[in-house]
Amino acid sequence: MCQVDEDYHGPLQRAEVPSVSKKCVKCKEATAAVVIRAGDAYCRGCFKEYFIHKFRAMLGKNRVIFPGEKVLLAVSGGPSSCSMLRQVQEGLSHNAHKKLRFLPGVVFIDEGGAVGQSVEERQRTVAELHAVFKATSFPFHMVPLEQVLDLPSSVVVTAASPSERAASAYKAAVDHFIQSDTTSCVTPRQQEETLLPDVQESHTHSLQQLIGSAKTLTAKEELLNTLRQHLLVHTARTEGYSKVMLGDNCTRLAVKLLSSISLGRGAQLAQDTGFSDSRYGDIMLLRPMTEYSAKEIAYYNRMFRVPAVFTASLDTRTADKSSIQHLTESFVIKLQADFPSTVSTIYRTSEKLQTACRSSSTEECWDRCLLCVCALDTAAENASAFKATLISEQLSQSKSPKATRPNPESTAPAGQCCSPAGGGDCGKAASDGGCCSSAKAPETAHLRSLLCYSCQLTIKDMGSNQSSVEHLPQYILSEAQRRRRRSQMRQEIRDFLLDEADEG
């Protein structure tokens, strides 16, 4: 980590205003144009060199991409992912210092339907990005988020990862690649002209119902992130890619780190924010932009004319307190304005995080969250906060007067039933009505048992009545049923099993 120390000039050093027309700290000749990190002013040329070098250094250091491997770049049109696309182009160009050797493709997930854009707005965005992607000559895929409704259940099952390739294999693969292909490293396949396929209005409607069934913006954003990730992984699988590159920058990851903790995703932090994430087994998610701040990216894009296409998201023009994620962002950014090492300090912390390995030798699919596909964190010990929450939930439920308990089909607003029992026990954020949900059809209760703590909160937010859970895409519901049947079957034959897991 060559950059750890530089950010620590005493934890409380305040931003200083440098003197006018400073010289570049690198070449000490040209006039500085941008201030990065605390006080380092770079000229245009040195900034470009520094930026490009950092990308290749990141990939070089981690050595997870094999030469000739197909890598899918997830480009949202935002500054970070568009900058990532440019870095890959730079790295593959003929005059690149250390050429990248993988085969890139690009995917754009059009979320316009989920965030309420009109068909015309969506078409405009797609057309703009189409032009950007076409200019790269990489193969690309334009996928409407509506396609998430037709995914197969296998998306939420961790696939067997390709047999672990030893470090020595990397060297061998590089040598082989250099011998077999010395002329041009990338010979893009025949251009795939995949303009956005027609989206059925009914599909858009279903998607909107699904997102709309979550009451808070916090849960809507979580749901959208989950669906997007499923569709990315599915696209990578069907198109033959083995890695997916995401554009998360350091600033975003610092925000994600803190908001994830608030959302109860502590156990999944290492995977959610790390450089590489192998929760899906065969498809590895990579975050090569983690060394760049949002500011560096904005300057680079501006100076070197990286096209980006702004699209509104769920939190566009909302107040700071509209969602946990949004509030966390505003907190981090405000702190960063006065203390420039805030973001890097938070992010460096995340690099040190590791999740302790679960004792179970093989992690079967029922050990994984049905939504985020991370290892379940709900098998906690009796003294944990999670168990305490459960107990308090059960208590508040049993105290609840029977008269006010709605029947499972009731569409009465959640929250009513638990208010007479004293909201104190269940007054947690996003749990309005949550305390009643296990009284609902066993289907819903079972679904929740397949989720990690944080995803349980998201589903809780979708309301306690059965119908809202039915808005979930079919692939999730049928996988839930499959796991249910499997666990029933295991129960039935457990006496005959020789090799039962410690407690079952």
């Binding site: 205003v17 027309s21 006039t31 144009a33 941008v34 998201s313 023009r317």
Partner: protein, 101 residues
């Protein structure tokens, strides 16, 4: 008495949404007793251009944290930030780096 100055303003990264989606503005700042600085420019923008939600653009007498400012393509941190004295034909860019603009 300083003469009126013509400057070029640009909004990006979603900040343009607060200005009716218009990214580029050619404006003329009226003549006033002392030279225009960025601090006064922000007040002027708020009064004359900003269409809605001023708190999403300014905070106190500066820009909202997360919005970058470039003066003539250089980081405003190198130019004296709010105290920079605007010249005729200057180019001032505001880029939002916040999620969702």
């Amino acid at each position: 008495m300083a003469a009126p100055i013509a400057i070029h303003l640009e909004f990006g990264g979603g900040a343009e949404l607060l200005f009716d989606g218009v990214k580029e503005h050619h404006v003329t700042l009226p003549s006033q007793s002392q030279p225009w600085d960025v601090k006064q420019l922000l007040v002027w923008i708020q009064r004359n251009l900003l269409k809605e939600r001023p708190e999403l653009f300014v905070q106190g007498d500066s820009v909202r944290p997360g919005i970058l400012v470039l003066i003539n393509d250089a980081d405003w941190e190198l130019m004296g930030e709010l105290d920079y004295q605007l010249q005729d034909q200057d180019n001032v860019v505001f880029i939002s780096t916040l999620h969702g603009g």
